[in-house]
């Protein structure tokens, strides 16, 4: 299948997981999805150490940073990584979202509380429940269209 060529209005997006997470199907899928929506994706792959993640984002200054994690350490790792990103002057305003399976319990209640915690910690979007992919697409489309989140 032909991918839609990225249009000039498309976003530059970094798709990544975090240091302890070795899963990549989520990253492969997100890259294809975002490219089909007309965006340009840099995929950092599995087990991205904090310093590599921060350095790549600082160097590329993307329009959006997408953290995806499914190994159960996402809550913990995300809270560690976000301040490191925000510590870079270039990335103070860059939207950063997180999604996947972020805890080890799988309990909907716990996830809900934790999602609110991540938003409070400064994430611009948290996508974990059923329908997360559609909600994420809406978020990205609004961002590309310049609609404030």
């Amino acid at each position: 299948m032909e991918h839609t060529a990225a249009e000039p209005s498309g976003l530059d997006i970094v798709v990544t997981t975090m240091a302890s997470d070795s899963h990549t199907w989520n990253l492969v899928f997100l890259q294809l999805l975002l490219e089909e929506l007309g965006h340009r994706v840099t995929n950092l792959g599995a087990c991205v150490p904090d310093d590599v993640l921060v350095e790549e984002c600082r160097r590329r200054q993307p329009d959006l940073i997408v953290l995806s994690s499914v190994n159960g350490h996402g809550h913990h790792d995300g809270r560690r990584v976000l301040p490191a990103l925000r510590a870079c002057p270039e990335l103070l305003e860059t939207p950063v979202v997180i999604g996947g399976k972020l805890g080890i319990t799988g309990a909907a209640d716990g996830d809900d509380t934790a999602a609110r915690g991540l938003l409070a910690a400064g994430f611009d979007g948290v996508f974990t429940d059923v329908g997360a992919v559609d909600a994420f697409k809406v978020f990205v489309q609004r961002l590309a269209a310049g609609v404030p989140a």
Binding site: M1, H3, L27, V28, L32, H73, G106
Partner: protein, 424 residues
């Protein structure tokens, strides 16, 4: 020392399938209860210590901090607890009647291997390719060097009287969507690498894929190739219940595990790594694991009494041999041959993002659910262009990734919804 290979060989000679969970907790009392419950399950079992992902990735300070804080990890931090702690964890549980394997997923596992040996354990798993390319960003060359050192550590323990056992993870690459010929080739090549570096007891993995007939042919091919290429060491076959996107319904998950148990028995595999009915949703509880072990044992027992049918040859054996020979032709040192093969694209794992993987190969499912190459890149195998859908768009990829989930959830639904037979 627990003599993992000898235990499995004994069970196999008695016609019993060995079943094994994935299990790892950071709290000692929970881990001990998990091992105890596995040992006492109504099945022929071996135990598992799965390490947490901080330990796997070498972030031992993070693992240490979690232990100190009392934060639960997603596995047992074997390199952060002192050896005596692990010894007391295992005391009275792990022995020759209940060997325990350490499962870790690490591309550079020296610390883990040293820790397990120090704690009196000697069975573990992985491989220089299978724990590097899919799960890490370590250069393949460095993973090969590290795994060579680990093999040497295990072989040294062998000299000291232990009976270390190492299992390849090459038959499980990416969990799903890797065509069987490459799974077989990598499993055998990692086994040959272990042998070259001194191991004398190994197992070769193969993960259940998308089509039962194709899986039967694949395991038969793996056994035939192992017999040819590893004639002078102890080996057995271990089947992994499906490792991809799992059925969401308890019924679908159970049907898929039943299928894996039957596959193991029909092909003559000796051991099965189970999955539970909770797999699609979260890390399973000990009780769910025990139930999976026990139901798999029942299904295996029933299958052992069923008549055998013939296995068709669609060319998987030939394709796997072509891949293996293409690697071995490059260098007598199997580690170096593997590194050069990936650099040349003679081996190329579909959808693998690692920088040392060529990344040209693509796979898909044909209309009957068999895995095939839509693009074999520079590998010495023929793709079957036009035979089915290639999983190159996000939608097609999701469809292929969720094919087994969909199929087995539907099957479970039909089973429940089927009209009751009329009473006689």
């Amino acid at each position: 020392m627990t003599a993992f290979g000898a235990f499995v060989a004994r069970a196999r000679s008695q016609g019993r399938l060995v079943v094994q969970p994935r299990m790892g907790m950071s709290r000692l009392d929970e881990m001990r209860l998990g091992l105890y419950a596995t040992r006492n399950a109504a099945a022929t079992t071996v135990g598992t210590l799965t390490v947490d992902s901080y330990t796997r990735t070498g972030a031992l300070d993070e693992a240490r901090r979690a232990i100190d804080d009392g934060t639960a990890l997603n596995g047992y931090p074997i390199a952060s607890y002192p050896p005596d702690v692990t010894r007391s964890l295992l005391r009275g549980i792990a022995d020759e009647e209940f060997p325990v394997q350490v499962r870790h997923g690490s591309a550079r596992p020296e610390r883990i291997v040293a820790a397990l040996l120090a704690a009196g354990l000697d069975a573990t798993e992985g491989g220089p390719v299978s724990y590097c390319l899919p799960y890490s960003r370590l250069p393949l060359r460095e993973a090969v060097t590290s795994w060579q050192r680990c093999c040497e550590l295990l072989a040294a323990a062998q000299e000291a009287g232990a009976q270390p056992h190492l299992e390849t993870f090459g038959g499980c690459m990416m969990g799903q969507l890797c065509p069987p010929s490459l799974l077989i080739a990598l499993s055998v090549l990692e086994g040959m690498f272990f042998r070259q570096h001194g191991l004398r007891s190994i197992s070769l993995s193969y993960a259940q894929q998308t089509h039962t007939g194709q899986d039967e042919e694949s395991v038969a091919a793996l056994i035939r190739i192992a017999a040819d290429r590893l004639p002078d060491i102890d080996w057995h076959i271990v089947i992994y219940a499906y490792m991809g996107v799992y059925p969401q319904s308890p019924g679908g998950a159970q049907l898929l595990l039943d299928e894996a148990a039957r596959l193991s028995v029909r092909t003559g595999a000796a051991r099965l790594i189970v999955k539970t009915t909770a797999e699609a949703h979260r890390i399973p509880t000990v009780e769910e694991n025990v139930r999976a072990l026990e139901t798999a044992a029942v299904v295996a027992g029933e299958e052992g009494r069923a008549p055998r049918t013939g296995i068709a040859d669609t060319g998987i054996h030939e394709e796997a041999c072509a891949l293996i020979d293409a690697v071995l032709d490059l260098d007598a040192d199997i580690g170096r041959a593997l590194v050069r093969s990936f650099a040349k694209g003679r081996l190329d794992v579909p959808y693998c993002l690692h920088p040392d993987n060529a990344g040209r190969a693509r796979s898909g499912l044909d209309s009957s659910g068999r895995l095939y190459w839509t693009d074999a890149g520079a590998m010495p195998v023929a793709g079957r262009a036009g035979a089915g859908r290639s999983a190159t768009g996000s939608r097609e990829l999701l469809d292929a990734l969720s094919y087994v989930q969909r199929t087995f959830d539907e099957r479970a639904f039909r089973t429940v919804a089927a009209p009751l037979p009329l009473s006689p």
